[in-house]
């Protein structure tokens, strides 16, 4: 026991050592800019080339200002609505495909092909995607309108770009379409990490495909699932490129997301860095709270158990000494 403890201490330094590159790069390239931005949130720094800014007498003025900004509130609602509309189908279909493509009972031919193809929308730059969808839904003539009219579903072309709900749905669909393949690949890579022994054991016990998926696959990819949930949440709440590029936050702010709002504050016109910074900090807090909740729900109970056991063992070791 004593020997093991000594070993544990001697290896700890490698933990630090292996983290050094990350920490150095992080401090230089990420921490400084982030702190800089955070600081701006408490100042009157706005306008171009402003090197003469001061801290505000009411440090939270910008924060109050942003929270009472109607467009910001709208953008928050939009962000959540669009994220949910995109994420639910995304994770559902990704899980479904994962189940199909990793199933040991129902062999789908060409699954390698499908896996490769489904990720491909993710390769296209958001800007290209925005152009294509703009063309698809264009008015008064455009492929989608042509189809609707020729099928007799509509008498006249529909102006999608002024309809708020339609715009939100299209943006959500684009997000779904670009990312479900990515999510699927991550889930599959998680499943591939599961030991085949477990599946063989289940098969011997006579479990069918559905049972195996829910009883074995899902619990075993929980860590990867958590990764997916958290990155989707963070990515979704930071959604920027498609809403910005497709309809520039319009029509009537219907696709204005929080990050587009932040960008607009900072860059499109008045250079209100301070308000943009305050809004980012607010978003940071919101995202952190949501992620913390996810972590708590998905917390690794086994890991916690192991930690406890280690502690107990250490205690026992101490007692033993």
């Amino acid at each position: 026991m004593a020997r093991k403890q000594v070993k544990g201490i001697s290896y700890a330094k490698y933990g630090y050592l292996f983290s050094i590159p990350f920490i150095v790069a992080f401090v230089i390239f990420s921490l400084y800019p982030t702190l800089y931005t955070a600081t701006l949130g408490f100042t009157d720094c706005k306008g171009l080339g402003n090197n003469n800014w001061h801290f505000l007498s009411d440090p939270f003025e910008n924060f109050k200002n942003v929270l009472s900004n109607n467009s910001f509130i709208t953008s928050l609602k939009n962000t959540v609505a669009i994220w949910i509309m995109n994420f639910i189908p995304q994770i559902t279909i990704a899980l479904l495909l994962t189940a199909w493509f990793t199933s040991r009972s129902n062999e789908i031919k060409g699954k390698g092909f499908f896996k490769v193809v489904f990720y491909m929308p993710n390769i296209i730059t958001a800007a290209t995607v925005a152009i294509l969808f703009n063309a698809l839904f264009s008015y008064p003539v455009g492929p989608v309108n042509d189809i609707l009219v020729s099928l007799g579903l509509r008498d006249a072309a529909y102006q999608f770009s002024v309809d708020k709900s339609a715009s939100r749905i299209i943006v959500a669909f684009i997000q779904f379409w670009t990312w479900y393949g990515n999510t699927m690949i991550i889930l599959i890579s998680g499943v591939l990490g599961i030991s085949p022994d477990i599946y063989e054991a289940a098969e011997i016990d006579g479990a069918n495909g559905v049972q195996t998926f829910f009883k074995i696959t899902i619990p075993n990819i929980k860590t990867v699932l958590l990764y997916n949930l958290v990155t989707s949440l963070v990515g979704g709440l930071n959604m920027y490129d498609i809403p910005k590029l497709y309809l520039n936050g319009g029509p009537d702010n219907a696709t204005l997301t929080a990050n587009v709002f932040i960008y607009n504050q900072a860059f499109s016109g008045s250079y209100m860095y301070n308000k943009a910074a305050a809004a980012s900090m607010i978003m940071f807090v919101i995202i952190s709270i949501c992620s913390a909740i996810l972590f708590w729900i998905m917390r690794d109970r086994d890991e916690a158990k192991i930690q406890k056991e280690i502690k107990a063992a250490k205690k026992a070791a101490k007692k033993g000494v």
């Binding site: 990420s30 800019p33 390698g112 990490g193 075993n220």
Partner: protein, 283 residues
């Protein structure tokens, strides 16, 4: 192994699965078809009907327009390649290393460190760019590929992914036996852990490569000299002039830009198709 029963139920399942997958396949491939077709059409044809499946005859003309402008496909390709390979290598290697530090070792600051990584992940990226950009300007890192490559060493989402992947699948017993054999920690990481992480690294490499290849915002601000331009910057210059946009050339440019990406993707896709079942090592 159990014998798969080909009953009616599973047949119906297979048919609906194929229909569904077929539909998604069409949705996935159509943008590429449109891109290629439009690369052969004239700007006017595209402006009149942006989407068509009938190829035109303007491919060479579009290519001429493309190369007569700031678009130098070869130079752009090399620049993009340097950046993307650099970013991908840094992201994947160092993220795996960081994740390994968090998973394989017990150290005091491990928990706070991981929490920090998660916090960084959550900061809206748009806004950090203000500070980052001004900082790079101050220290004279503009027009330097390193300003884009080095930050990739700290890539929280990838670290997070590698950690999540390692937790259930890193066989500590193998590491222990390597230690008993006298292997140094650094060697264990490079020669035992890295190969085992291949499937995870391959997927992350694809993601990193794709996003750095498509990255436009930061490079376009940091790389201001002609001979440093990446392919997406070159394409964006074709559109900078909205009153005379050469759509045909743009689609061709977009297509040329996505082409290397497809090649890299297909090369790495064997990990997506097959995957090296990590758990297999245990059995």
């Amino acid at each position: 192994m159990s014998v798969v029963k080909k009953d009616a139920g599973s047949r119906a399942f297979l048919i609906s699965a194929y229909i569904f997958c077929g539909l998604l396949t069409v949705l996935s491939l159509i943008p590429f078809v449109i891109m290629i077709v439009n690369a052969t059409r004239s700007t006017t044809q595209i402006q009149q009907h942006a989407i068509s499946l009938i190829p035109g005859t303007n491919f060479m003309k579009n290519f001429a327009v493309l190369t007569s402008k700031t678009f130098n496909p070869w130079k752009g390709f090399i620049n993009s390649l340097i950046i993307s390979v650099g970013v991908t290598a840094c992201t994947v290697y160092f993220s795996t290393m960081t994740a390994y530090a968090v998973v394989a070792y017990e150290w005091k600051l491990k928990k706070p460190f991981f929490t920090l990584i998660m916090c960084v992940l959550m900061i809206p990226a748009t806004i950090t760019s203000i500070g980052f950009y001004q900082f790079m300007y101050k220290i004279g890192m503009t027009n330097n590929f390193l300003a884009i490559i080095l930050p990739a060493i700290a890539s929280p989402p990838t670290v997070f992914f590698m950690r999540q992947y390692m937790i259930p699948s890193l066989p500590m017993e193998i590491l222990q036996s390597a230690r008993i054999d006298g292997a140094g920690e650094f060697r264990i990481f490079n020669q035992i852990v890295l190969p085992m992480m291949k499937p995870a690294m391959a997927t992350q490499a694809i993601f990193a490569f794709v996003s750095s290849w498509n990255n436009l915002f930061l490079p376009s601000i940091l790389l201001t000299k002609n001979d440093k331009y990446t392919m997406p910057i070159m394409v964006s210059l074709l559109t900078g002039d909205i009153y005379k946009t050469e759509y045909g050339a743009i689609y061709l440019g977009l297509f040329l830009t996505v082409l290397p990406l497809l090649v890299v993707y297909f090369l790495l896709s064997k990990y997506i198709i097959a995957g090296v079942a990590l758990g297999g090592l245990k059995g």
